[in-house]
C-alpha cells in the first residue's frame, strides 16, 4: 500500500530527525523489509531512527495526523516476522535510544532506554556492578532488552524468576496519540522505578501486544544477585516420559537457578537423549558442593539406572553450556544457509513427552533433524518448548520445508493446549480462533481506545 502524500511525510520526518536518520532509499527498505526468519519480505515505506522520547512523540504525532502505520523495532531478531510491516508504513528502529539511564544497586533495577542491547547491559553490569545480573536470553547480544521483555521472553534466570515480562518494574510509553504514559511505580513520579507496585497494573497493556499499543521508550527491569561461582550438572536419559518427574525433583530442591532441557540429532551422540542441564550458583565452594550434592541425590535415589548424572560435563560441552548469552545462533549454520526459525510453545510440563515425540515426527516428515531447547520457567510452573528448524536461505525447498514444519508445529502446540509464544501473523489468527470471544472483543476495544487511528503495527492481533 503506497503511502499517500509521501513528500510532505518525508519532509516532516527529516524535520524531526535530520536526513541522516530517515531513509526511503531502496537499500534500507530492502533490509528492513526482511528479517532473519523464513517469513516473506513485507514492503516498508520509511525507516526512521529517533534518539529521544521527544523525537518519538513527534514521529507518532506526524504518523497519526497522516494515518501512516508505525512499526516499532528493536533488533528484529524475534524470528517471527513481527517487525515486518503487514500494511506498509514507517519502521521505527529504536536502537539509537541506547542509554543505560540508571542502575540502582540497592533496589536492584536498571532503567534503560528501549534500544539498549543485551550485550551492552551484560558488559555494563559486569564492569560496574559485578554483584548484579539481569536475565539473559539465548538471543544474539544485539537483541534489545526491551524487545525481549515486550514479547514476554525468557532468559537464564527465568527458571527462578519467571518471564522477562514479569521482571519489568515499569515502562515509559509514547501512546499512539503522542501522549506519554508511565507505568509501575513511575506512575507516581518520573524518578520512581523500583517496582510494579499495587496500583492498577497498566504495564500489561504493552506486554505481549507486539507493538500494537504504543512505543516503549524506557523500561525498568529487575536485577538479581550474581554469586561469584556458577556451575552446572547434567542429567542424561533416553526416555522422554520421565523428564517431567526428573524436572519436578530438580526444581523441588530449589537449588538450581536455571534448568534447561536439550534434545538434538547432531552431533550423533546426542541423538535419542534428553539432556537436562541444571545450573547452580554459589558464594563459596562449600555452598556449591552442598547444592550439587542435592542434585546428585535425585538420579541415584529415584531414577537409578534410567538417569545418568554428570557432575562435570566434558570441557567443550561445558564451555558451550556455560556461555552467556548461550550461542543458540549456531543453529543458523546447520544447513549452511543462514537461517533458522523456531516455534516456541508455552506448556504445562506433563505435556512435554508428547510434545517431544510428535515434534520428531514433524521434523522428519519435512526432511529435517529435530532440535529442541526447553526452559523450565518460574520454579517449574511451566516450560517454554522451542522447536528449531534450520533452513538454507538460498534453497527454496529448504525454506518451504521449514515454513511447513513451523506451521505444523504451531498446530501441534495449540492441539496440546500450549500457548504459541510471540506468534507470527498466521499463528496469531489461530490463537484468536481459540480465544474466548469476550476476551478478544475486550482486546479490540482496548486497542481502539489507545489507538483510535489504528496506526500501531496494524495487522497484528487482528482477524483479518
Amino acid at each position: 500500500m503506497p503511502v499517500k502524500d509521501g513528500n510532505s511525510l518525508y519532509a516532516g520526518l527529516t524535520d524531526i530527525l535530520g536526513q541522516e536518520f530517515v531513509s526511503k532509499e531502496p537499500e534500507e527498505l530492502y533490509i528492513y523489509s526482511r528479517d532473519s526468519s523464513a517469513n516473506p519480505p513485507r514492503p516498508v515505506d520509511y525507516v526512521v531512527m529517533p534518539s529521544s522520547v521527544e523525537e518519538v512523540q513527534a514521529i507518532v504525532k506526524l504518523a497519526s495526523s497522516k494515518g501512516i502505520p508505525l512499526i516499532p523495532m528493536g533488533a528484529a531478531l524475534n524470528l517471527e516476522g513481527l517487525t515486518l510491516p503487514l500494511k506498509g508504513g514507517i519502521v521505527v528502529d529504536m536502537r539509537r535510544m541506547d542509554k543505560i539511564i540508571e542502575v540502582s544497586e540497592m533496589d536492584r533495577y536498571a532503567l534503560v532506554e528501549a534500544g539498549v542491547s543485551q550485550g551492552k547491559l551484560i558488559s555494563y553490569l559486569e564492569e560496574k556492578y559485578p554483584m548484579l545480573q539481569h536475565s539473559v536470553p539465548d538471543a544474539p547480544p544485539s537483541a534489545t532488552v526491551a524487545g525481549s521483555c515486550l514479547i514476554c521472553g525468557y532468559g537464564h534466570l527465568s527458571t527462578n524468576y519467571g518471564t522477562h515480562a514479569e521482571m519489568v518494574n515499569g515502562l515509559e510509553v509514547v501512546l499512539p496519540t503522542g501522549e506519554i504514559l508511565r507505568t509501575g511505580s513511575a506512575m507516581l513520579s518520573t524518578s520512581l522505578w523500583f517496582g510494579r507496585g499495587s496500583l492498577p497494573d497498566l504495564t500489561g497493556l504493552f506486554l505481549g501486544w507486539l507493538g500494537t499499543t504504543g512505543i516503549v521508550t524506557k523500561l525498568s527491569i529487575r536485577l538479581y544477585p550474581r554469586p561469584p561461582i556458577r556451575d552446572m550438572v547434567i542429567y542424561m536419559m533416553q526416555d522422554s516420559s520421565i523428564v517431567p518427574d526428573v524436572v519436578y525433583r530438580i526444581t523441588h530442591t530449589e537449588v538450581a537457578e536455571d534448568v534447561s532441557i536439550v534434545g538434538q540429532e547432531r552431533p550423533e551422540w546426542m541423538k535419542g537423549y534428553q539432556i537436562i542441564a541444571a545450573y547452580v550458583s554459589a558464594h563459596t565452594e562449600k555452598e556449591l558442593d552442598l547444592k550439587k550434592s542435592y542434585l546428585k541425590r535425585i538420579s541415584k535415589e529415584e531414577f537409578k539406572s534410567k538417569v545418568s548424572f554428570m557432575e562435570e560435563a566434558p570441557g567443550e560441552l561445558k564451555e558451550q553450556f556455560m556461555e552467556l548469552p548461550f550461542f543458540a545462533t549456531k543453529v543458523a549454520d546447520w544447513k549452511k544457509g543462514g537461517g533458522f526459525e523456531y516455534v516456541g510453545a508455552i506448556m504445562p510440563i506433563d505435556t512435554l513427552p508428547e510434545a517431544w515425540e510428535k515434534g520428531i515426527d514433524i521434523a522428519h516428515r519435512f526432511d529435517m533433524l529435530y532440535s529442541y531447547a526447553i526452559r523450565v520457567v518460574e520454579g517449574g510452573h511451566h516450560v517454554l518448548f522451542t522447536y528449531s528448524y534450520p533452513f538454507n536461505r538460498a534453497d527454496e525447498v529448504s525454506m518451504h520445508n521449514a515454513l511447513s514444519a513451523l506451521k505444523e508445529t504451531q498446530k501441534l502446540s495449540l492441539a496440546l493446549g500450549a500457548i504459541p509464544w510471540k506468534p507470527e501473523v498466521d499463528g496469531q489468527k489461530e490463537i484468536i480462533k481459540k480465544m474466548d470471544k469476550g476476551t478478544f472483543k475486550l482486546m479490540q476495544r482496548i486497542r481502539k481506545l489507545l489507538d483510535p487511528g489504528g496506526i500501531m503495527n496494524p495487522g497484528n492481533w487482528e482477524v483479518d
Binding site: E27, Y30, P140, T329
Partner: protein, 394 residues
C-alpha cells in the same frame, strides 16, 4: 576471486550482529555502523545487500556505494562473527565494491582516488620526482642492490608532512643500528593495498606487478614497510602475483634490533603512553606484541591500555580508503574522535601509533576534540628515537 566465488557462502549470514561488537559486547566496533546506526551499515547488512545485488533484487546506486565504501576494512567482523565463513566477510565486501567499480557506481571521491593513483602514483597528484625529497633531510640513502633491506615508505609517508617525520624517525633508527638499507625515492610507487580494498582490482594488479618487477630488478630480498597496509598487501597478496619477498613491519624489525642489542635504547623521560593497534597490523596480521614490546623496552615509558585494545581495538576510521574518501569522517561520532576520547580516558600523554594512516586520522581526531595541546600523537619510532637523543643530550 570474484563475487560469484562466494555464492555458496554469502547467504549464510544470519544478520545476528555478533560482528558489530567487541568480543565482550562493550561497544559497537564496526566504525560505520557505530556512526550511521542503520542496519544497512552493519557487516550483516552489507552481506545481505551484496547478495541482493547479486540476485538483482537491488541495483547498484550511489547510496549502496556509500554503504560499501564506508567500510574501513577493519576486520572486526572477521574477528567477531561466530561462523566458519568469517574469514570471507571482508573479501565479500571487497568483491561487492569491485562490482560497483565494474558498473561505474563508486563514490566520486573513490573515483578521484583511483584516477590520481593511476595517473600520478599517489592519491594527491603529487609529482613523482618529489616522492623521495623528505629523505634528504635525514640522510636516508637510496636502495642499491646488495642492501639488506628495502625500506618501503608508501604514499602517506612520502608526501604528508607530519608522517614524513615518522618515516624519518624510523630511517634514523636504521642508520643508528648500522643496517644496510635504502628507499626507492622517486622510483617508489603506491603499494595498492587501499586500491585493492576499494575493489579496483585491475589497478591493483597493475601497481603490484609494477612494484614486483621493480623489486626484482633491484634484487630486493627483504622489505621493511612503514605502513601496515603495505605490509599486508606485500606479504599476503604479492606472492600470488609472483612477488615472494621477506616482508616485515617496522615494529617487528625494531623489536629485533633492540632485543639483539644492535639498537641501544637508554632510558628517556617519564611518559605515559597508550598504543593504538592498527587494523592491518593487528586483526589482519595478528601482530599485537611487538609494538608493545618495543614501547616497553624504553625505560620511562609507562604503557597503559585503552578500553578497547588488541583484537578489540577500535579502528581510526581511515582504512578502505576512508582517510581520503572521508565517508565516515566528521562530527563527534567520527571514529578518530571517538578513539582519541578513549585514549584521553587513560590519562596518557602520548597516543602511540604504528601506521601512517592512523597517524593522520588520530591527529585530526585530536584537533577535532581540542586535545592537540594536551595529548601528542607519536609513532613508535619517534618515541624510541626521542629516548635515545634525549639521553645523548643528557
Amino acid at each position: 576471486m570474484a563475487l560469484d566465488d562466494f555464492k555458496d557462502v554469502i547467504h549464510r549470514c544470519f544478520r545476528c550482529g555478533y560482528c558489530k561488537f567487541t568480543s565482550n559486547y562493550t561497544d559497537f566496533n564496526c566504525p560505520p555502523y557505530n556512526k550511521f546506526r542503520l542496519e544497512t551499515f552493519s557487516p550483516g547488512g552489507r552481506m545481505w545487500l551484496i547478495r541482493a545485488m547479486m540476485l538483482k533484487d537491488i541495483e547498484p546506486s550511489q547510496h549502496l556505494a556509500d554503504i560499501l565504501y564506508s567500510c574501513t576494512m577493519c576486520a572486526n567482523c572477521v574477528e567477531e562473527c561466530r561462523f566458519k565463513f568469517h574469514d570471507d566477510i571482508v573479501d565479500i565486501i571487497m568483491e561487492g565494491k569491485a562490482s560497483l567499480v565494474e558498473s561505474g557506481m563508486v563514490p566520486p571521491t573513490a573515483r578521484d582516488f583511483f584516477k590520481n593513483i593511476y595517473l600520478s602514483g599517489n592519491p594527491w597528484k603529487e609529482p613523482q620526482q618529489k616522492r623521495g625529497d623528505w629523505a634528504r633531510h635525514y640522510g636516508i640513502p637510496v636502495y642499491k642492490p646488495g642492501d639488506e633491506y628495502l625500506y618501503y615508505v608508501g604514499c602517506i609517508g612520502s608526501y604528508d608532512q607530519r608522517v614524513q617525520k615518522m618515516a624519518g624517525a624510523f630511517g634514523q633508527l636504521l642508520l643508528r643500528a648500522g643496517l644496510s638499507f635504502g628507499i626507492l625515492g622517486e622510483d617508489e610507487y603506491c603499494d595498492g593495498n587501499e586500491v585493492l580494498m576499494m575493489g579496483e582490482q585491475g589497478l591493483f594488479e597493475y601497481l603490484a606487478q609494477k612494484n614486483i618487477e621493480l623489486f626484482k630488478e633491484r634484487r630486493v630480498n627483504k622489505i621493511v614497510t612503514l605502513s601496515p597496509h603495505a605490509y599486508n598487501v606485500m606479504r599476503n597478496k604479492y606472492p600470488r602475483l609472483g612477488g615472494d619477498f621477506e616482508v616485515v613491519h617496522y615494529t617487528e624489525l625494531l623489536k629485533e634490533l633492540i632485543s639483539s642489542g644492535r639498537l641501544k635504547v637508554p632510558g628517556g623521560r617519564k611518559i605515559k603512553v597508550t598504543y593504538h593497534d592498527p587494523c592491518f597490523l593487528g586483526r589482519w596480521n595478528s601482530i599485537y606484541d611487538e609494538p608493545r614490546e618495543v614501547l616497553e623496552s624504553v625505560d620511562g615509558v609507562e604503557l597503559v591500555e585503552m578500553r578497547r585494545n588488541r583484537e578489540n581495538a577500535f579502528c581510526c576510521g581511515g582504512g578502505g580508503g576512508n582517510f581520503y574518501t572521508d565517508i565516515i569522517g566528521g562530527g563527534e561520532s567520527s571514529p578518530s574522535r571517538i578513539r582519541v576520547r578513549e585514549a584521553a580516558d587513560t590519562g596518557a600523554d602520548i597516543i602511540a601509533v604504528a601506521c601512517p594512516t592512523c597517524m593522520t586520522m588520530i591527529e585530526d581526531g585530536l584537533k577535532g576534540e581540542d586535545l592537540d595541546e594536551k595529548i601528542m600523537c607519536n609513532d613508535i619510532s619517534e618515541i624510541v628515537l626521542d629516548a635515545i637523543t634525549s639521553a645523548e643530550e643528557g
